[in-house]
């Protein structure tokens, strides 16, 4: 075939793909007989209510001198690692607010961080396109810095998100501005699998977020600037298991629902959505109501341990607590006393679900928990 014939074939194939996507969308719409909120209301469920002292800020973690971009809890103990524009990772004891480690990074432009399942190491990545691993037991060098124990190189764009495979200190997954996700073997520093990429059936825009299924660690979801979320099987890198359409803007954050069969998304279009991984259905949209058309983007999301609550951080500093069953906003942490003074950039629940940590461009992290047994500081 000549180049011109190939170009014509390309145009025809693109039209066919668009037409098939439209047909698929129409068929799916016929199966959307209800959403979670309508189902819950029809079965007599009422929204969760919060009193003024039910959820309070019980700790403010101060120490970063720049915007906080990312945080992660240890899987078991109450420690948090945070990454900031100041070029440092800080490891905190969330109960005492003490800093146990402050790691100066070789590249200050960090975007993501994660604790290893054992809590012995932290990983981070950013504009250097490298995922760096630091062992927290390694003594500091003569300058007081912790050297990286491993540098995972291979991405051709910034590292936007990283997460260790549950119960495996030796494997982690990263997402990148190069439109791919990579599964790494931390021991060898080599790529085990690359998901997507040029000429592969994957994302067609920067990948911004990933979440690994806690119930089946072979499955993970990714969110991208191409407005889709994709479900991957780590054993099959050639194509995504399913692509989830619906958002009208970048998908900034993805997180698995605690049952492992659904996941949530948060987007630049200002909405959060709940999708089913087995059927592909969009089960619920969580839409903000704003008087003007200026709807702030969702920057980060997390589910409570039962799945009843969806926490969503927004670019305007709001942090909505959604009742996932009734699709109602039941509390705005951004309006409470002692809330953040800037954009919420990241948030996460502790392993036992008893506390929420939020990170903000105001340089602080805050811990929120049930107010009945704690004194507000």
């Amino acid at each position: 075939m000549s180049v011109n014939e190939l170009k014509e074939r390309h145009i025809e194939a693109t039209d066919t793909v668009n037409s098939l996507r439209e047909r698929l969308q129409q068929k799916r719409l016929l199966l959307l007989d209800t959403d979670v909120a309508d189902y819950a209301k029809s079965h007599g469920k009422t929204a969760v209510t919060f009193g003024p002292t039910d959820l309070v800020c019980c700790r403010t973690l101060q120490g970063h001198s720049g915007k906080v971009y990312s945080l992660d809890w240890t899987p078991e103990k109450n420690r948090i690692v945070s990454a900031s524009q100041d070029g440092r990772l800080i490891v905190w004891n969330s109960l005492t607010s003490q800093k146990t480690h402050a790691i100066k990074l070789p590249c200050a432009w960090v975007m993501t961080c994660a604790f290893s399942p054992s809590g012995q190491s932290v990983a981070c990545g950013g504009l250097d396109s490298v995922c760096s691993i630091f062992n927290l037991n390694t003594p500091t060098d003569k300058d007081g810095n912790v050297p990286a124990s491993k540098m995972l190189s291979g991405h051709k764009g910034y590292v936007s998100s990283c997460q260790y495979v549950p119960d495996e200190d030796t494997h982690l997954i990263t997402s990148s501005g190069d439109q791919t996700c990579i599964l790494w073997d931390v021991t060898t520093g080599l790529r085990t699998s690359v998901f997507g990429g040029e000429f592969q059936s994957g994302h067609t825009g920067d990948v911004l977020s990933i979440s690994i299924n806690g119930s089946n660690s072979r499955m993970f979801v990714s969110g991208s600037c191409d407005t889709t979320a994709r479900l991957w099987d780590s054993r099959v890198a050639s194509r995504a298991v399913r692509t989830f359409h619906g958002h009208e803007g970048d998908v900034n954050s993805v997180k698995f629902f605690p049952d492992g069969n659904r996941f949530g998304t948060g987007s630049d279009d200002g909405s959060c959505r709940l999708f089913d991984i087995r059927t592909g259905h969009q089960l619920q949209v969580y839409n903000q109501r704003h008087a003007d058309n200026d709807i702030p983007p969702v920057t980060s999301i997390a589910f409570s341990i039962s799945g009843r609550l969806l926490f969503a951080g927004y670019a305007n500093g709001d942090c909505y607590v959604w009742d996932t069953l009734l699709a109602k906003m039941v509390l705005n942490l951004g309006s409470l006393h002692n809330s953040h003074e800037g954009r919420i950039s990241c948030l996460g629940l502790s392993a036992d679900g008893s506390a929420l940590c939020t990170g903000s461009w105001d340089t602080n992290l805050k811990i929120w928990a049930f107010g009945g047994h704690r004194r507000v500081i």
Partner: protein, 135 residues
């Protein structure tokens, strides 16, 4: 025979070489790129056709919504506080005191009073080891 005639000029003369301009490498790259993109789109068409066939076999959204609701209701949540349970019990009292349930309330009160009277008539047992002193 061939070797004896090698020295003669029976072999027809080849046309003089006419150097061609170097191949257009960017066009070759462009062709391969277009081919790769077309192949990717063809694969995508295959995936979409498979998915369209399988959509007819999947369950409706209401099944998934039920699974979500059942999971949430079956699991406790430390951030949904005991005070919510208190409010739920307050709602139960409001329900109990409602007009339609006044009878049930009366019966319950009578039963509780009878139990209290019965307990008052029977002294409470006291367990005291030998040698213990009263506080």
């Amino acid at each position: 025979m061939d070797g004896a005639k090698r020295g003669s000029s029976i072999v027809p003369s080849l046309p003089p070489p006419s150097p061609k301009s170097p191949p257009d490498y960017s066009d070759l790259y462009g062709k391969r790129r277009e081919l790769a993109l077309v192949q990717m789109l063809d694969r995508e068409i295959g995936f979409l056709e498979e998915e369209i066939k399988s959509v007819g076999r999947i369950q409706t959204a209401s099944h998934s919504c039920k699974e979500v609701a059942d999971f949430v209701m079956a699991n406790s949540d430390p951030l949904i506080t005991p005070s919510c349970k208190i409010r739920r019990s307050r709602r139960i009292w409001r329900w109990l005191c409602g007009k339609a349930h006044a009878e049930i309330v009366v019966i319950a009160i009578v039963l509780l009073a009878q139990i209290a009277r019965a307990l008052a008539l029977v002294p409470a047992p006291s367990v005291q080891a030998a040698g213990d002193q009263d506080v």
